[in-house]
């Protein structure tokens, strides 16, 4: 989970108020509690802040996941080994010719994908831990060498 | 009565054996900048099991001098990520660990990169900078 300070450091820090908050710090707080979206800070969408914006997105992604399902991926611990990509039963079922046999995912229906050497989780609602027939699945946690995946 | 003997004693030395390994975060740092802080932080460190640290009175974050006939370096003491039974300490393979490796290969050309005997003691000195390892 990122801290408010970490998010704030990546913002333009001009307090221009375009996002509707009175300061960048306030916007950082709102980001963390998911009341605001990064794109509401229009200055950061401009080219010169591209790196910072990407960093912010990667910091916020895991919390976005946690919001829905309780899954948190710690990108700083992830080695991008892809064990979770291949081991997750949802990925196996949804991508039998790709993730299931160890290859790169061939479609967007998988939960785990590796981007820039770190895992990103999407389609989290498909996770077996949720929905009507939920089971306590550990298939992504057990194969992870560094404890980068967690459910809270 | 007034003499503090401890003040004149050198920090106690222990004989240890180091084995080296590779770490993906260190490899990443190496690809990016082998002169960088991140690479140094990961490389100039000795990882010790808790029992060894307790026995020698070391804490994570202390600095230690490692010395043998081949060289002498100062690195940071860190705890191993997982519980280790002790008796062996660990370093990531790097110019720091290599400065303790002997050139005696008994003719076979393969140095003992993963089996380094040396002495370890606490120190207040700074971590050996990379520049020092490549000055001849």
């Amino acid at each position: 989970m990122p801290t408010v300070m970490e998010l704030y450091q990546l913002l333009p820090k001009t307090n221009c108020k375009k996002c509707g908050e009175s300061t960048c710090m306030a916007f950082a707080v709102a980001l963390l509690s998911r009341k605001k979206n990064i794109s509401e800070c229009t200055p950061i969408l401009e080219g010169s802040f591209k790196k910072q914006k990407e960093k912010l997105e990667s910091l916020l992604l895991p919390t976005a996941g946690a919001e829905e399902t309780g899954m948190i991926v710690h990108p700083e611990l992830c080695t991008g080994c892809g064990n979770c990509v291949v081991a997750c039963p949802v990925d196996v079922a949804n991508d039998p010719k790709g993730a299931a046999i160890g290859c790169a995912p061939t479609n967007d229906k998988v939960i785990f994908r590796v981007v820039d050497g770190k895992v990103i989780a999407s389609n989290i609602k498909e996770c077996r831990r949720f929905g009507k027939n939920r089971v306590l699945c550990y298939a992504c946690i057990d194969p992870c060498p560094t404890g980068a995946i967690e459910f809270v | 009565m007034g003499i503090d003997v401890g003040k004149f004693l050198k920090a106690p030395e222990y004989d240890i054996r180091i084995t080296t390994y590779r770490d993906i975060f260190q490899i990443e740092a190496l690809e990016q900048d082998r002169f960088g802080e991140e690479y140094k932080k990961l490389s100039a460190a000795v990882m010790m099991g808790k029992s060894d640290m307790d026995k020698m009175g070391f804490k994570a974050g202390d600095r230690a001098r490692l010395t043998n006939n081949n060289g002498s370096i100062v690195v940071e003491v860190r705890a191993t990520r997982r519980e280790e039974p002790g008796g062996i300490v660990f370093m990531m393979n790097s110019p720091w660990s290599n400065s303790l490796v002997s050139d005696d290969t008994r003719g076979n050309g393969i140095p003992e990169f993963k089996n380094i005997s040396c002495r370890i003691s606490l120190t207040k000195e700074d971590i050996t900078p990379l520049e020092k390892l490549i000055a001849f």
Binding site: T79, G80, C81, G82, N83, V86, A87, V92, A100, I101, G102, C103, A104, P105, R113, V114, V115, D116, G117, K118, P143, P145, T146 | R17, T19, Y21, R22, I24, F25, I27, E28, E31, Q32, D33, R34, G36, N70, G71, R82, E83, P85, I88, S94, P95, N98, V101, S102, D103, T105, R106, N108, G109, I110, P111, F113, K114, L130, L133, I134, F136
Partner: protein, 403 residues
């Protein structure tokens, strides 16, 4: 899809998003691979005697130094394409030079045994499709070849292994340290003392021949039993194992002779180390440590560590490697005392002291070619971005033009 040269798995399924001739993002590459695509912070620039110059002048000076040397060595090669390696071998012939690569103090002795067919071996695809017992011995694949378990060995479903890793495969780690790989092998982690590989091999050989192993009887019998029952077993031999039994590799041959369903795969970090071994082997019958002198002579004294220790070389060409970083410091003073020519994409410890530096393209990113995967399969490399850097092969070709 492009190929990653981050390690000798040479993953061919990388999606590199290029924008304005720069790699903006990589998909499917692990952290190690992504770092390779991202590249280094400090690119090397051409120089002679620490003074900036142009590429042509630095190549010219390099040729001159090599030609005038009496006993030059051409070293590196494990991070070069097969094309560059071939050029290097030709150059060594022409110069009557010594040629050696990083396998000299790494997996060379094991790869040699594989090439001489002392061990049964197999492809990574065979492993994915067939293997049921995997032994990571002195090898932390998770950190060194990070996608090994996910792409090929443990997690994927394969033709004869359809039910997933929990049911169909058994992964065993033998190591001094509880590595990330050992963590994944959980119930099958065998911790050995430093240099304990020999004892374990002998005990297992005993157990497999019906004798009672000398120590830790219960666990060794248990392990021997798993190995015996394997339909298709693989020992992934890491440098931890190789270093430990480097003087008596035959005990490993003897062990695998007792395991008729087992294969050995030497684990290789640098992306084309096996390529160099194979290319030199084809040419000379040796995998490294060769001196050309009308014919090819192999001797341990031509190993880089020995040659430096004995001060037996008077010029050193380094291609895509950083001996100052990877060799024992005790042999480095001689290296620092002779002319060194460094061909590399990046500033390295060695380039800092080199007499001549020649910047090169990053192979697999800025130049194409081919390389040999850790299991011996030839893989094409991709050129992902365009720029003016010369490839290693081009630099070597130019260097030898006048020679």
């Amino acid at each position: 899809m492009v190929t990653c040269t981050g390690c000798a798995l040479l993953c061919e399924d990388i999606d590199a998003v290029v924008e304005n001739n720069r790699i903006k993002e990589t998909r499917n590459a692990c952290r190690r691979g992504a770092a390779k695509f991202r590249g280094c912070k400090n690119r090397l620039t051409p120089s002679v005697n620490k003074k900036q110059t142009d590429v042509d002048a630095s190549i010219k000076k390099a040729a001159e130094l090599l030609k005038t040397a009496k006993s030059p060595m051409l070293f590196g090669w494990s991070n070069s394409t097969c094309e560059a390696q071939a050029k290097g071998i030709q150059a060594a012939k022409k110069l009557n030079a010594i040629i050696d690569d990083t396998s000299s103090f790494c997996q060379g002795i094991l790869i040699e045994k594989v090439l001489r067919k002392k061990f049964r071996t197999c492809s990574l695809e065979d492993i994915r499709n067939q293997a049921d017992v995997l032994v990571y011995w002195g090898s932390d694949a998770q950190d060194s070849e990070p996608r090994h378990l996910s792409r090929f060995s443990y997690f994927p479903r394969g033709e004869a292994r359809q039910r997933g890793y929990e049911e169909d495969r058994t992964a065993i780690a033998i190591d001094v340290r509880e590595s990330n790989t050992a963590k994944i092998c959980k119930g099958h982690f065998y911790r050995i003392p430093l240099k304990g590989d020999r004892e374990l091999i002998l005990a297992l050989t005993d157990a497999l021949s019906g004798k009672v192993p000398a120590y830790d009887t219960k666990r060794i019998l248990e392990l021997a039993n798993i190995l015996k029952k394997a339909e298709f077993g693989v020992i992934f031999a890491g440098i931890g194992l190789t270093y430990s039994i480097k003087d008596e590799l035959d005990i490993l041959v003897a062990l695998t002779d007792r395991l008729s369903n087992f294969h050995i795969l030497p684990m290789v970090g640098h992306y084309n180390m096996r390529g160099f071994n194979e290319n030199l082997f084809k040419e000379t019958g040796f995998v490294n440590r060769v001196r050309f002198d009308g014919k090819a002579v192999h001797d341990n004294k031509y190993a880089i560590v020995e040659a430096l220790r004995q001060k037996a070389i008077d010029a050193l060409l380094v291609v895509g490697s950083d001996p100052l970083s990877s060799l024992p410091r005790s042999v480095l003073p001689h290296l620092a005392a002779i002319p060194v020519i460094c061909i590399d994409p990046c500033v390295t410890l060695t380039s800092k002291i080199a007499t001549v530096t020649i910047p090169a393209a990053v192979s697999g990113v800025e130049s194409g070619g081919s390389a040999v995967r850790m299991d011996g399969r030839v893989i094409e490399l991709s050129k992902v971005v365009e720029n003016n850097y010369l490839s290693d092969a081009e630099i070597l070709a130019r260097m030898m033009e006048g020679a």
